[in-house]
């Protein structure tokens, strides 16, 4: 195996005249990139093969394009429409991120410099999933996946023992000390040997069964075949793969048991790879997809610096010093007092710790230690740890990349970037940004608002409405501006790519997506919600969509769904002039919904009590629309209510509300309302209990009835007086609710009238005599005594 691993005789470590060199890497490691560049300069391969999805080969040029800025990623997706992965026919997606420190990126750049091809040799994403067992590898039940997962490097007990033995806190600390920093002081040959040894030992800890289950073996067989094919064509082949695969590939190549794998036929529309801008925040192993190293921004700076220098020594000392100074500056801006003396003490601490830990230079762990010790004054708590949070943010980096070759940028991302640029939105940062949009006084404000609503409609997670009118829920409609917070993340790009099939611009995608949703969900409530979304996005409904909504309203048999739709359409109708969005269709839908509800209303008389409140809400809405907008429908509405009240079985709350509305339409119905109330009062105990709900419904829609004369109040009084105390307690919540819509002055008036009925003063009724101190003290002691006695009975322990 030595011969394959290092290219030649073991004494030489790497034979630079060998036909094949397998170079092991840790993804995004600057030291792996540094030695890789040195190796390429010396070996001068005729082809460089890289671990990556074979079907993304056409994107290598996009990656190495001069205008491309990293971090960037390939976004790979697969739609399992043929159930090749599982019966669930799920959609899968993953990222293949690149930074300046990524050896894969540097391999591609060096190939370009040498004028030799660079190719990906791994299985396509779809095939990788097909070859992975459920809940293993890329099919683990986590939200985010990376093609370049390095989690294997920290698997098993081996690295823990190493950390214990070397007195280091974590794998990252171990890696930095012995590989990133230590690697600068050794030759490429020694580095490769050290790297291969570590990765081989880690791999020995994993069973073949596990490797089979997580798809490692399938991948390696496929890569080995591609390597073998390249060796037949080229004389010098360099293979760059994750260190975990290196020994596996070497074994396969040495055994000669290499066969071409048969790939499944997957439709073009079901799988693909796109280049996209990526962020350091997502690339961070702490928050990202376990794809590489912690603090990617810091390590990218190290790589950039290494490329500039002739001698690598001292690069960590310089960069950690810079990071410390930046942390101090940023902390000062956020009201953390950091003096020059603190910076000096932290710097001294970093150097001292590096020496104590036998590290040749100060690394990121020493910066964290220096800041912990010298910048935090007092106990280390969540609030006092701000300097550490700042350091973490700076080391992670807030930058977002950019795809230079616009031909390969998915159209929606290009449109997104164009629109952000036109509106002056700072989208090239991973830090959340706030923006205000004046809805009625500025064209730009309206554009921003519509853009943000469009991005939300596509489910990108780009924008969050902090303040502003909530048209969906009919809240805060008087607000004239919206406050948004937005942040670009890889998920935003991924969502936009997912919508690529919906259109070439965001507007087109929204319109097409709205149509799709209308087709999929045949409910009036949902259709109205989509109409509201289109209104907020400034996208008029097409005639086909209008017809669809019309059809949905006609087909929907759910009273409440139509009621909710009526509310939304009525809101739209009321707002369109204000929002400069003319859409006559809204009135058509209001009419259609209203008519559908009129015909359904009588059947709602005996609605189950748990839905009574909702029914009353719809009835009130209908009344408001009939009085204000559809005055010609008032008569029909009255007739429907009368039919409703004449039903044999009636839900008391709905009944009361219907009578209240009838009284509001026509004073003459007051006599009927009183008659019904008396009927409830004269009934059995159960009927009397229903009386409270009847009154509640009545007051909800027509509370004036209480104040016109005393008859209603007298009836209510009779209802209460006639009840036993326990029965009264049972209806008390309903009675309380019945009066909840009254203003304080109305309540005062009612209390006064009620007091008069019993020959009392309302003040005496409202301000009862206070219990004296002695009585209260006695009560309290009595209470404690009872509790003690009960406590004795319920002993804590059996014995």
């Amino acid at each position: 195996m030595e011969r394959i691993l290092y290219g030649g005789k073991s004494s030489e470590i790497i034979d630079y005249s060998s036909p094949l060199i397998l170079y092991p890497v840790r993804h995004h490691s600057p030291i792996c990139s540094y030695h890789l560049i040195k190796l390429i300069e010396r070996y001068r391969p005729e082809i460089i093969l890289i671990e990556g999805p074979e079907n993304a080969n056409h994107l290598i040029n996009v990656l190495t394009d001069e205008k491309t800025e990293l971090p960037a990623a390939f976004y790979c997706y697969y739609k399992d429409s043929k159930s090749l992965v599982s019966e669930d026919k799920e959609d899968y997606k993953c990222y293949y991120p690149f930074q300046y420190s990524s050896p894969e990126y540097n391999a591609a750049v060096q190939a370009k410099k040498l004028g030799v091809p660079a190719e990906f040799i791994d299985l396509p994403y779809s095939e990788l999933l097909i070859n992975t067992a459920e809940d293993r590898g890329m099919r683990k039940n986590t939200e985010k996946h990376s093609y370049t997962d390095d989690s294997r490097l920290i698997g098993g007990e081996f690295y823990k023992r190493l950390c214990e033995k070397t007195g280091l806190r974590s794998f990252e600390e171990f890696w930095e000390k012995y590989f990133e920093i230590g690697g600068l002081y050794i030759s490429t040959d020694d580095f490769v040997r050290q790297m291969t040894t570590y990765c081989t030992l880690i791999r020995n800890d994993v069973s073949e069964k596990e490797l089979e289950a997580d798809g490692t073996l399938s991948r390696e067989k496929y890569m080995a075949y591609n390597i073998s094919a390249a060796m037949n064509k080229y004389e010098k082949v360099l293979v760059v793969t994750g260190g975990f695969h290196t020994s596996g590939l070497a074994k396969l190549l040495e055994s000669g048991e290499i066969r071409a794998a048969k790939l499944h036929k997957v439709a073009e529309k079901d799988q693909g790879c796109y280049p996209m801008a990526y962020s350091y925040r997502a690339a961070d192993a702490l928050r990202g997809y376990a794809s590489g190293m912690m603090y990617p921004g810091f390590y990218d700076n190290i790589m950039k610096e290494l490329l500039k220098r002739e001698l690598p020594e001292g690069v960590y000392n310089e960069q950690t010093m810079t990071l410390l100074a930046k942390t101090a500056k940023a902390a000062s801006k956020r009201d953390v007092q950091v003096t020059m003396s603190d910076i000096t003490a932290a710097y001294t601490m970093m150097g001292g710790l590096a020496a104590l830990r036998n590290s040749k230079e100060t690394g990121i762990s020493e910066v964290f230690d220096g800041v912990t010790s010298c910048f935090i004054k007092g106990e280390k708590t969540i609030s006092s740890s701000l300097p550490l949070d700042i350091l973490s943010e700076l080391a992670t980096g807030s930058g977002i990349g950019h795809i230079g070759d616009t031909q390969h940028v998915p159209p929606l991302i290009a449109d997104f970037e164009k629109q952000c640029g036109e509106m002056g939105l700072k989208y090239q940062t991973a830090v959340p940004v706030k923006v205000e949009a004046a809805l009625f006084t500025s064209k730009k404000g309206q554009l921003i608002s519509r853009f943000m609503h469009r991005m939300n409609f596509l489910g990108t997670g780009f924008a969050k409405l902090l303040k502003g009118p909530d048209i969906h829920n009919n809240r805060d409609r008087s607000r004239v501006r919206e406050e948004w917070q937005f942040r670009r993340s890889p998920e935003v790009d991924a969502s936009l790519i997912d919508h690529t099939t919906d259109g070439f611009t965001i507007e087109e995608a929204c319109a097409a997506y709205a149509e799709k949703l209308l087709n999929a969900r045949r409910r009036c409530e949902t259709a109205a919600s989509i109409a509201v979304d289109c209104f907020l996005m400034g996208i008029p409904l097409t005639s086909a969509e209008q017809e669809k909504i019309d059809g949905i309203i006609t087909e929907d048999g759910d009273f409440f769904s139509i009621g909710s739709g009526l509310s939304s359409f009525d809101t739209l109708w009321g707002l369109q002039r204000l929002y400069e969005f003319d859409d006559e269709a809204a009135m058509k839908y209001v009419l259609r919904c209203f008519d559908r509800l009129i015909s359904a209303l009588p059947s709602m008389a005996d609605v189950p009590s748990e839905r009574a409140e909702e029914t009353v809400k719809v009835m009130r809405l209908m009344y408001m629309i009939a009085v204000n907008t559809l005055t010609d429908r008032l008569g029909v509405f009255e007739a429907a209510l009368l039919t409703m009240t004449s039903a044999k079985e009636k839900e008391p709350l709905v009944h009361g509300a219907a009578m209240g509305l009838l009284c509001a339409i026509n004073e003459d119905h007051r006599i009927s309302a009183e008659r019904f109330a008396k009927g409830y009062l004269a009934g059995s105990l159960e009927i009397r209990k229903k009386g409270a709900d009847y009154l509640r419904g009545l007051f909800t829609t027509s509370k004036d009835i209480v104040f016109t004369d005393s008859s209603f109040l007298e009836m209510t009084d009779k209802l209460i007086v006639s009840m036993e105390f326990d029965d009264f307690l049972e209806i008390l919540p309903s009675l309380r609710l019945a009066f909840s819509g009254f203003t304080p002055s109305e309540l005062q008036l009612t209390a006064k009238a009620a007091a008069e009925l019993h020959g009392m003063d309302d003040k005496a009724l409202l301000n009862k005599k206070a219990v004296n101190e002695k009585m209260f003290s006695f009560g309290e002691k009595f209470d404690i005594r009872i509790c003690e006695d009960i406590g004795k009975e319920v002993l804590l322990y059996e014995n």
Binding site: Q337, A345, D369, K377, G378, L796
Partner: protein, 368 residues
């Protein structure tokens, strides 16, 4: 030096290890330090040192955050003081003693901060008989630990600094800034310059926060390190066993320690401190300090009882009584919290694990 003390100082207790470290220490030492920073690290965190005849094992004395110990060592080699802050019983004092003994060879140069600490105790005072007889002279001067530290180039330890009034604490500022102490009464001979190796290790209890808040000026002259309680039950058990063994040895109690009982106590303290048990049940945390030091104390008391009055076997009833005494000190609600813990978590473990936990649960009747 005689070692038959209730609590021998670190430099006596670990004399052999310190001597071995000093003999085989080839690292660079800050001026006046008896060991190099690397050897200090080994002394506190344990390890092996190579000798001509093989190697010597150095025991680990401080468990928890190794990086914190390293930062403390580097701080002390610099020009800033070290302030150890944390909950009571998190071994701040022990760490401060270990650092002093390892770096300077002496851990007893200490000022104990209290509400009654005066500036004299921090700087210097006078032997009034000599002062009256000879007037202000060096002979009549009674140096404080701080002054001794400055003159000898060793550490001065300032325990519980935040128990001391703020204006008294501030008398440290000039010493730490200029490394000079002025004794005006001695006129021309009154300037005492600190020798290399001098530094201050302070400890402050977070429960005293706000009692005598340190001034910003003084804070700037210290590097702060927060010592956290041990979060690992296994480690806490080891500490209890080791400390109990040491205390038993000093107290001439010739009885083996019971690892199961120590584990049970470690679990109890861990769960009551964290507010959640191993099953995920939420537990009300007592207001009393639930530190490892308290657990050691409870265990040692139980051990002593078994030695002097019992059958040389850890009795769960006695341990529960001792636990009750340790937990229910200040707040009467703590008793209810302890009862609730027994009612839920201990009962659960008694049913599932049985054995000692069953005995422990049965002993709950002493909780009154």
């Amino acid at each position: 030096m005689e070692s038959n003390f209730i609590k021998p100082p670190v430099e006596i207790r670990y004399k052999d290890e310190l001597d071995a470290l000093r003999k085989y220490d080839d690292g660079k030492r800050p001026e006046n330090w008896v060991l190099s920073p690397k050897a200090v690290r080994t002394f506190i965190l344990g390890g092996k040192i190579k000798t001509e005849s093989g190697s010597i094992e150095i025991s680990r004395k401080f468990y928890g955050n190794d990086a914190l110990v390293e930062r403390c060592i580097i701080t002390l080699a610099g020009n800033r003081g070290l302030m150890l802050v944390g909950e009571p019983g998190t071994a701040k004092t022990m760490l401060s003693e270990l650092l002093s003994a390892a770096c300077c060879g002496i851990s007893t140069n200490t000022v104990q901060g209290t509400a009654g600490t005066t500036e004299d105790m921090i700087k210097y005072s006078w032997n009034y008989a000599l002062l009256l007889a000879k007037g202000p002279c060096r002979e009549a001067l009674v140096p404080s630990p701080l002054l001794i530290g400055m003159e000898k180039g060793i550490f001065a330890r300032f325990e519980e600094i935040t128990r001391t009034p703020a204006e008294i604490q501030d008398s440290l500022i000039s010493v730490m800034s200029d490394q000079i102490l002025n004794i005006p009464e001695l006129e021309n001979e009154g300037l005492v310059f600190a020798r290399p190796g001098f530094n201050i290790i302070g400890t402050a209890n977070t429960r005293d926060k706000g009692v005598n808040e340190m001034s910003g000026a003084l804070k700037r002259r210290f590097n702060f390190e927060t010592v956290e309680p041990v979060r690992d039950v296994r480690l806490e058990k080891e500490i209890i066993l080791r400390e109990a063994r040491n205390l038993a040895e000093t107290g001439h109690i010739d009885m083996p320690v019971d690892a199961d009982a120590a584990e049970l106590l470690a679990v109890t303290y861990h769960e009551l401190r964290e507010g959640v048990d191993s099953e995920g049940t939420v537990i009300e945390t007592p207001t009393a300090v639930m530190s490892t030091a308290e657990a050691v104390s409870v265990y040692y008391q139980t051990l002593s009882h078994a030695w002097y009055y019992g059958n040389q076997k850890i009795d769960m009833k006695i341990m529960t009584e001792n636990l009750l005494g340790a937990v229910c000190k200040e707040n009467k609600d703590d008793l209810e919290k302890l009862k609730a813990y027994f009612r839920t978590s201990v009962k659960n473990k008694s049913n599932k694990v049985g054995g000692l936990w069953k005995e422990y649960y049965t002993a709950a009747k002493v909780l009154k």
